[in-house]
């Protein structure tokens, strides 16, 4: 029941904001923050409930004649991602507190509706419900990005929309096919059906699933929509896209691709991993060459999800666990980094690395937050990125030593582009653009501080997260054995 509340709270909040069109921007912000904080609280309560009874489920008939149910459930993986979503949305809302958007209530309503869809995706147990939320999540984000975005937003976000919907349509074909075979829409029961299918069929299913999720994440060669979309969108939409929506793709790999096309995975995993690792290298190299800091982070996101995809496709526990930890770490870090980019842009009016420099001297606090989050992204030990990347690289190495060795380059390349970013923007002599840079305060600290703490907490106590996801990860691996 509490789980349903997690969906209903932001849904009601979102609809209410839609209807309260005329209210002032600050009121809309506060309502949204309140609702999203309540939802986070709900998430924590669900976590407590989960500790008592580890199998939470609710199920209502949705289209009874077709055996399609409104079926939600939580295991460790879902719970972790729900907590992540409910944790990040208030921060994303807070990150907009110093800015006024036109039609603010609609803007915030769309953020809350995105949250509903995300929580739906992460908890759906019925494959059609999953698909429903998976596609529905795109609609509010599309409008956020397109209407409030930069001057090229219309064409860029349109490309994103068409691209991702196109991928999702393959997903739809695959799930309708599976559903016809199994006469059930329950993902777990479908796994049994899928296992019995011949190898060629599973191979086709594999590609259909992969295309959908690969576009969403995105991994090479389906990434062409991503850098432009991330940099043209308003920052809250970018945060949602890189922090949470890309995780739907990763989650889909874990929840749908692995159990529903196991033989496809074992046949094509190496090939696909080669692609995603190539994307990782490619994204890193492009990130090194970027002078636009928002684009730089966008490419680094592209590189990071490539590594996660490779880890999941290994089908071993450390790869999977690593991907799960890295999903959380990357989401938190991406939100933090995009926020810092926004802070820099708001104060200097530029995102060009060449024009920046010397910010550190004026801003001790921002520098510390930036450094910690950046080190998390670089995967320094004792930060969140380290745990995830270590497990991922171990998993990939166990699967194929060569791929593992190439993927290991990510540590070096990541350090290069991130430290270059830090050095060019923050260090050095200040110039007229950065001379009057104010340090962060108020709502900005309220965003950066929790993120920084999570970066460190996950790095120092990774066991909490690993234990939470291990049984669920093991269940999925057992399904495909």
């Amino acid at each position: 029941m509490l789980m349903l509340l997690l969906l209903l709270l932001p849904l009601i909040g979102g609809i209410a904001l839609f209807l309260l069109k005329g209210i002032s921007s600050s009121l809309a912000k506060n309502i949204t923050l309140g609702v999203s904080l309540l939802t986070f609280l709900g998430g924590l309560l669900v976590y407590r409930q989960y500790q008592a009874t580890p199998s939470l489920e609710i199920k209502y008939g949705w289209i009874p004649s077709l055996a399609i149910n409104f079926h939600l459930g939580l295991d460790g993986i879902s719970l972790l991602l729900v907590l992540l979503t409910t944790f990040l949305v208030p921060l994303i809302v807070l990150s907009t507190f110093r800015q006024t958007y036109a039609n603010a209530s609609v803007f915030y309503a769309l953020i809350l509706l995105t949250e509903v869809a995300l929580i739906g995706v992460f908890t759906a147990k019925d494959i059609f419900l999953f698909y429903f939320f998976f596609e529905a999540a795109l609609v509010p984000v599309y409008f956020l990005a397109a209407v409030w975005g930069g001057k090229n937003a219309a064409s860029v976000t349109f490309k994103m929309f068409v691209y991702t919907i196109f991928g999702s349509l393959f997903l739809l074909v695959a799930i309708i096919y599976l559903y016809m075979q199994g006469q059930t829409a329950n993902i777990q029961e479908l796994a049994v059906t899928a296992k019995a299918l011949p190898t060629t069929t599973q191979g086709l299913l594999f590609w259909a699933f992969l295309v959908a999720f690969a576009i969403k994440m995105p991994i090479l060669p389906f990434h062409s929509w991503q850098p432009a979309a991330y940099s043209e969108s308003p920052t809250p939409a970018t945060m949602l896209l890189s922090g949470l929506l890309s995780k739907m793709g990763v989650y889909g790999l874990i929840r749908i691709l692995l159990p529903l096309a196991p033989l496809g995975v074992s046949t094509y995993a190496t090939f696909t991993m080669a692609f995603s690792i190539a994307g990782l290298i490619y994204g890193s190299v492009l990130a090194i060459q970027q002078n636009n800091i928002k684009r730089l982070i966008a490419y680094s996101s592209f590189a990071h999800v490539g590594l996660m995809a490779a880890g999941i496709l290994t089908g071993n526990l450390s790869g999977l666990q690593g991907a799960l930890i890295q999903m959380i770490a990357h989401a938190v870090n991406a939100v933090g980094l995009f926020f810092i980019v926004k802070i820099i842009y708001d104060r200097t009016g530029t995102r060009d690395l060449a024009a920046l420099g010397g910010i550190t001297q004026k801003t001790p606090a921002l520098s510390i937050y930036f450094m910690v989050i950046l080190l998390g992204s670089v995967a320094l030990p004792l930060t969140n990125g380290f745990v995830g990347e270590f497990l991922l690289l171990k998993g990939i190495y166990d699967y194929n030593a060569w791929l593992g060795a190439i993927a290991g380059l990510t540590i070096i390349l990541g350090a290069v582009y991130m430290l270059r970013l830090m050095q060019r923007s923050m260090f050095g002599e200040s110039n007229e653009v950065t001379a009057k840079f104010e340090d962060v305060k108020g709502s900005e600290v309220a965003v950066l501080l929790p993120i920084t703490l999570i970066v460190l907490a996950m790095g120092i106590f990774p066991n909490f997260f690993l234990q939470l996801t291990e049984p669920a990860a093991q269940t999925i691996l057992d399904l495909i054995k």
């Binding site: 289209i63 429903f132 529905a136 309708i176």
Partner: protein
């Protein structure tokens, strides 16, 4: 059966009401009449049976289709605003013709004898030929009416020819007798097959399935928008109800014969409708081609031919109808005050900056386009889902793939109006929206979302 009688009477009454000098009462009266027909429609609910010497058959499915047709008629007519702005209009005649055509549409949904089907089609079509050309001073309207009339009567001729052929083979016009005949005969005469083919061609012309679609864009564009809306929704629902009924009752034994034809037309409709729609500048023409593509999706439900296909067709018709009324309603509200050469501007660019001028209309437009494109949260998604799973159930995965590719193309053009409304700069003109528009468009939008979230409503009713 009752709504046919009711509408025939009220249609005549409406003609006489036209003698009263003030025209204000005509619209409320018409709406009342249609709603009365809607109410009496349900007198037969759960009482399946035959009427008029077994020429009409009522069952819940037929009544559901009748209900959809009547509600569509009421919603569309409410948008007409009584034709009070136009001094040359003849509202009494228009409304009477609309009621007659609704009666014809209901015959098409509930017939059990091919003569009844033929009469229904004729009543519907003749009324529509007139309504298409009702704006006498518009040369495009006249062209459209003549085109529609010539091609329509030709198609009716083909249908009649098919019926005659079939009568020659089976000695009956009754679709149940035809089914019995097909069941018994082992070597059917060639003219039976010709009959089936010609009947299908005649019917598919009415729903503008390719390759019988050539009239659609010109007629949709030339007709006054209010009647385009009426035509694109009511005719499609009634036409598919009729097609499904004859295939289900009479020709289900010879599925292997007609499915090849239907599959061919499905694929053609999907390709021609979607791909041509991409190139349209006019919103009305774009919706005309989109209507061809939706005929293709609806035909998929026919190809998927199972016990659930009628529910799929009903659901799809509802989804398509709601979205189409929204889309044309927004177009009418916006283009009314934007004249180009004295005619309402119906290009997609007229929607530019709509979100800033009137957020409500922009929202209605966005929801309707998303629904036509088949994005989740809207009824259109489930409509597509049901027909896709129907064909998948039959094992035509390739057809589903084609349809899915074409849906991706669809997203491209359905987003043009959305982008125009939300991301283009406006010309600064303000729009006056009548309260009745807000009400009707609000209803269709809520309906679209409601059916998008609770898709079981239709199946639950049956």
């Amino acid at each position: 059966m009752y709504p046919i009688i009711a509408l025939s009477i009220t249609g005549l009454v409406t003609l006489f009401l036209g003698f009263i000098p003030t025209k204000k009462h005509l619209l409320p009266a018409t709406l009342l009449f249609i709603l009365v027909a809607f109410a009496v429609n349900f007198l037969d609910w759960n009482k399946p049976g035959f009427y008029f010497y077994e020429m009409l058959e009522v069952n819940n499915m037929g009544l559901l289709f009748s209900a959809i047709i009547l509600l569509t008629g009421a919603l569309v007519m409410a948008l007409s605003g009584g034709f009070l702005d136009d001094e040359h209009a003849q509202p009494a005649e228009y409304y009477a013709l609309v009621q007659f055509s609704l009666a014809g549409a209901i015959m098409m949904a509930t017939y059990s004898n091919l003569l009844m089907l033929f009469i229904g089609i004729e009543i519907l079509s003749v009324a529509l030929y007139v309504l298409t050309g009702s704006d006498k001073r518009n040369i495009r309207g006249n062209e459209a009416a003549i085109k529609y009339f010539l091609m329509g009567s030709f198609a009716t001729g083909i249908l009649l020819f098919g019926i005659a052929m079939f009568f020659g083979a089976s000695n009956s016009f009754d679709i149940y007798d035809m089914a019995a005949y097909i069941n018994q005969t082992n070597d059917a005469p060639i003219y039976l097959w010709i009959g089936i083919t010609f009947m299908l061609i005649g019917l598919l012309f009415k729903v503008s399935a390719a390759p019988f679609h050539f009239w659609t864009p010109d007629v949709y564009e030339g007709a006054p928008t209010i009647f385009t809306t009426f035509m694109s929704t009511v005719v499609k629902t009634a036409g598919f109800a009729a097609i499904y009924k004859i295939l289900d009752v009479a020709f289900s034994q010879v599925y292997t014969f007609w499915w090849v034809m239907v599959v061919g037309m499905t694929v053609l409709s999907l390709f021609i409708g979607n791909i041509t729609a991409v190139y349209q500048q006019s919103f009305k023409r774009m919706l005309a081609y989109s209507s061809i593509s939706h005929a293709g999706y609806l035909l998929m439900a026919v190809v998927g031919f199972s016990k659930q296909s009628d529910a799929s067709i009903a659901f799809y018709s509802i989804a398509y109808t709601l979205a189409t009324i929204s889309a044309f309603g927004v177009l009418m509200a916006v283009s009314k005050d934007n004249l180009v050469n004295g005619r309402p501007d119906e290009r997609i660019s007229v929607l530019n900056g709509l979100a800033k001028k009137d957020g409500f209309l922009a929202f209605v437009l966005a929801v309707s386009m998303l629904s036509l494109a088949g994005i989740p949260l809207t009824a259109g998604f489930w409509g597509k889902f049901f027909v896709f799973s129907d064909v998948a159930h039959k094992g035509y995965i390739w057809l589903m793939l084609v349809a899915i590719l074409m849906s991706a193309v669809g997203i491209y053009y359905y987003f043009k109006p959305i982008i125009a409304a939300y991301m283009k700069e406006s010309d600064g003109n303000t729009i006056q929206v009548r309260p009745i528009y807000k009400l009707i468009l609000g209803l269709t939008t809520i309906g679209t979302i409601l059916f998008g979230i609770l898709p079981n409503i239709v199946r639950g009713i049956l």
